[in-house]
């Protein structure tokens, strides 16, 4: 008994400390980014101003004229929102079909969908770029929306599938007996019942779309360029302006960090759903 009591005491004190260390470790880059964004470009590279400096808001105040932040931000919002919508529009019926009318091949289809995530993006870089250019869609919102929707579709389908599986089949069948067609089942029964799951899937998909950099950087130049492109585009020619770069980066990740913070509960549920019943 004594040993048990001691261990649990250690656990109650030790675990939160450990959790804090891990959390701080994860948060440090974000913290440093925001910290640096309040330094001038000159101060940012000087070791003597590593911790102690005169904070300035110039980097933020000048951001709009320096970088046209709002254009990039608008593009990010447009592409992420619409790509999430497209992914859900395709993913909900797909997951519905597999959850409620499984065949012998359903598992294989799910595995195949997931396996597409294992394909290195670089392998299809050239085909995709040429294709986009060939059909005149390079640097358009359309191509970014389609690409973002497609790369997130496997995750979306998998997550929705797990949620839908939790809904008793009887309820869907009751709907069929009550005279609803397939679309009615999805609209009247499935979506209201799986609303929480669909919301966390959408949230996660939105975050992935917002953070995506590989394709948004390579398939855009100006018109459809997102915040990822803005950050990427500001590292080279004039040397590294760490202060400005940090400010712009902070402004790029800011919205998503805030969104994530407010939706923590949904996100955690989304990621661990189905792990234990």
């Amino acid at each position: 008994m004594a040993i048990v009591a001691q261990t649990s005491k250690l656990g109650t004190v030790g675990r939160p400390i450990l959790a804090w260390i891990v959390a701080l470790l994860f948060f440090f880059p974000i913290f440093w980014l925001i910290f640096t964004s309040f330094k001038t470009d000159a101060d940012a590279v000087k070791p003597e101003f590593l911790f102690f400096f005169t904070p300035t808001l110039d980097n933020y105040l000048n951001m709009t004229e320096n970088y046209d932040y709002w254009r990039f931000a608008t593009n990010s919002v447009i592409t992420s929102v619409l790509a999430t919508a497209v992914a859900l529009f395709v993913g909900i019926p797909a997951a519905y079909a597999m959850a409620f009318n499984p065949t012998r091949r359903t598992k294989d289809v799910l595995m195949w969908m997931l396996s597409t995530k294992m394909l290195p993006a670089a392998a299809v870089l050239y085909p995709m770029t040429f294709l986009a250019k060939g059909i005149g869609l390079f640097d358009t919102h359309f191509v970014i929306i389609i690409v973002l929707a497609l790369i997130n579709l496997p995750i979306v389908v998998w997550m929705l599938f797990t949620y839908f599986k939790e809904i008793p089949k009887d309820i869907i069948e009751a709907g069929q007996m009550d005279g609803v067609n397939t679309w009615g089942e999805i609209k009247e029964i499935l979506i209201p019942l799986a609303w929480g799951g669909i919301a966390s899937t959408a949230l996660l998909c939105f975050i992935f779309c917002w953070n995506e950099a590989y394709w948004t950087v390579r398939l855009t130049t100006t018109d459809a360029a997102t915040l990822s492109k803005l950050i990427e585009g500001n590292r080279a020619p004039e040397g590294l302006f760490f202060g400005r770069l940090s400010a712009v980066s902070a402004a790029a990740v800011g919205p998503i960090v805030v969104l994530g913070w407010f939706c923590q509960k949904q996100l955690v549920q989304g990621l661990t759903f189905g792990a234990v019943k």
């Binding site: 009887d170 009751a174 069929q176 007996m177 009550d178 005279g179 009615g184 209201p192 019942l193």
Partner: protein, 336 residues
């Protein structure tokens, strides 16, 4: 309205034949009960009629119209599920209104029918609650209400009382029977409980391994079971089945005698069987005595009067009533 015919219906899941070719007619307004042990295919048969399963071969006809390829929503049938299958996100009112809303019925008509159904099912006070706030019995009433308001061609019940406790089950059984008398609509009811089958049915369909063993009224099945399986399945307590020497005396492979058709005595009589009392279950109105030591049937169950006084270890003599002995041949079929 509501005549259901199955013609040569077959159901296979992959290679497993759950229902071999089967023919069955359920007449308009009839209360038909599918009964059988679990896994006998009775629920599958019901789901075939509902359209929730596709028939591998054969035809399903409702009022003479072939509905084999018609989706469940267009067959005009209503179903009550064992799990109630209410829509948890809707209030009782919305649950009941759902099929009418899907059918595009006017709001006034919907309200009228909801009020009537709620009144007959004692749900008036619960219309604005969600299913999660109701007891099992109330939930099942809502499910029935949702089925009634559509005025379907036929009602399908899939073990609707299995999730309820014993007392509630008896009450609901009566309510469903009364509903049938009132509505005169065809009802098909699936259960593994032969008491439910006996008490509710106009027609019982006994199934085993997807095969119909017998179709008939409760009393037909009780009085003239077609084979050993039906004899053993219908009736409570179960019919005593004897084989060997005792059966040979009656020129049969197996003989059956129901517990209520055995006379007991404390003294030996000509042709009586001698046994020892194992357990006596006193129900008040009846006593079920389980008797050991009868060759070919151990234990043998006898139904006696409520005030009989026997105890464990007592010697007892049993005489079957000759006119109630059921004889079966080697292949299990009844010998007339």
């Amino acid at each position: 309205m509501g005549r259901i015919v199955l013609e040569n219906v077959v159901k296979r899941f992959d290679e497993t034949e759950v229902i071999p070719p089967l023919d069955l007619t359920i007449e308009e307004g009839e209360f038909a009960v599918f009964v059988g042990p679990s896994g006998c295919g009775k629920s599958t048969l019901l789901r075939l009629i509902a359209g929730l399963e596709d028939a591998t071969a054969g035809r399903v006809l409702i009022d003479g119209e072939d509905v084999t390829e018609v989706s469940p929503s267009k067959r005009g049938l209503a179903m009550v599920f064992q799990s109630y299958a209410l829509y948890p996100h809707m209030t009782v009112r919305k649950n009941i209104a759902f099929p009418m809303r899907m059918a595009g019925m006017s709001e006034a008509e919907q309200n009228e029918r909801i009020t009537a159904a709620a009144k007959s099912l004692n749900l008036t006070d619960y219309l604005d609650r969600k299913p999660g706030q109701l007891s099992g019995g109330q939930r099942q009433r809502v499910a029935i209400g949702r089925a009634i308001v559509r005025e379907p061609e036929a009602f399908l019940f899939d073990e609707p009382l299995s999730n309820l406790d014993a007392a509630l089950r008896v009450g609901m059984r009566l309510e469903i029977s009364e509903m049938h008398k009132r509505l005169q609509t065809t009802m098909i009811y699936v259960t593994h409980d032969q008491v439910e089958a006996m008490t509710m049915a106009d027609k019982i369909v006994v199934l085993q391994a997807g095969v119909i063993e017998q179709v008939g009224s409760p009393l037909e099945l009780y009085k003239t079971p077609r084979n050993v399986f039906v004899a053993g399945f219908i009736g409570s307590p179960k019919m005593n089945l004897l084989s060997g020497v005792e059966a040979a005396e009656y020129d049969a492979d197996t003989i059956g005698i129901r517990p209520e058709h055995i006379d007991i005595s404390m003294k030996s009589k000509k042709g009586s069987w001698e046994g020892t009392v194992g357990v006596a279950e006193h129900l008040g109105s009846d006593t079920f005595i389980h008797i050991h030591g009868i060759p070919g049937c151990d234990p043998m169950t006898v139904r006696a009067g409520g005030d009989i006084e026997v105890k464990h270890g007592d010697k007892i003599y049993l005489s079957p009533q000759a006119e109630h002995i059921h004889k079966f041949s080697e292949d299990g079929l009844r010998i007339p």
